[in-house]
Amino acid sequence: MIDYHFDWSVIARNWDSLLGALLLGLELAVISLAIGCVIGLAAAYARLSGRRWLAAPVWAYVEFIRCTPLLLLIFFIYFGLPEFDITFLDKTQSFVLTLSLYAGAYMSEVFRAGLASIPKQYVEAAKAIGMRPWQRQRYVVLPVMFRITLPSISNNLISLFKDTSLAAAIAVPELTFVARRINADTFRVMEVWLTVSAMYLVATYLIATLLRLLERRYATIR
């Protein structure tokens, strides 16, 4: 360590690919969160539907995902699906599918709690002006729930962004993977890992700040 001589030129030479890899990770996280929110919302409504045949399989899905390490899920889907002749997904798509299913399980719990926490007075007020069931959900329940759960959604986005580093295991060219490749080529281990750590930190901090602004913008429920 004492003898280690820092040579930061390796970062300058690879800056474009590092930055591109960082943006890819962000993109994967955002897409997965979006799909995960759709899955999570459907799952939450299924759990709250009171219909066992609907709620039970969804419960099993959520528990299976939550009790399985994410890396295992990534391998399971990436190497497992081709065994069933499902081969049209490339590794990035396979990873997005995995992360979306993963996010969906967690978001379903967030949304379930959110939906359950909405006071029934709001629904009654919507009924009283003659809104139909789907209108009550669309214009009253969901917007209120979105505002209540926004902090949890933010936390999930940050977690998902950091989880994208696991995509390196199946050679998706995101930041961790690219960093490892540069390491292998140049052996500038310290420079690369320090830089990459800083990039994760700055990106996470920026997301958190942006989301906090969003939360403040929507903080009309006290």
Binding site: A128, I129, P133
Partner: protein
Amino acid sequence: MTDTPLLRARGVRKSFGQVEVLKGIDLTVRQGQVVALIGASGSGKTTFLRCVNLLEEHDGGEILLDGEPVGYRGEGAARRRLSEARVSAQRARIGMVFQQFNLFPHLTAEENVMLGLTKVLGKDRAEARETAGHWLNRVGLAERRGHYPYQLSGGQQQRVAIARAVAMQPRLLLFDEVTSALDPELVAEVLGVMQSLAESGMTMLLVSHEMLFVRDVANHVVFMDQGKVAQAGPPREVFGRPESERLKNFLGRMHGIFGHFEE
């Protein structure tokens, strides 16, 4: 003028589990009338109001709005609840103001009033905004149109809730103890709005403990006791000549709280 009352309830029954809360309520509200339900808590006033607006389903008897049964079709064993779409359409003709205001927390005062106008009545936004502005002005809150509920006092929230209900141009407005959750100094502003609505000919059915207001504004007072109508008539009669001991006791208790209100 036809003879069909705007609202007619006949033998309305409702139980929660083993407890029978309404034991056959008969009640008529005519166009332009202000009818007040009074009685001790637990007498079934609020439950009856909620049955009228289908927030609760009555188990027996019938409620007719403009001669049309509310919530159900068919009779006896063939009685069926109407589809949610039909129920929603019936609710749109009846306005309701709640004890806890129940404003939509994510919408401004103006948007609260506009939501039903655009989504239920299908008005375009410009027209809905104009209507909302008119009614917010009418309840004295034109300058607060852009405020969210959490930025308004209880009395202001309740006035927005009244504007939201009346903007839908309902046939009938229901008021469920709308001043009970308010600080005492905010009660008058809400009662003032209600009185002005009554004077403009709005048909109203209200549950209230504000006996002075009931005496001055209602045309017809219904004293409910243990799930039944115990006495009904003009305020002068009900307050001036209470027939039962229970009404006398009730009025006596109210007297202690709200001061002198007999003739």
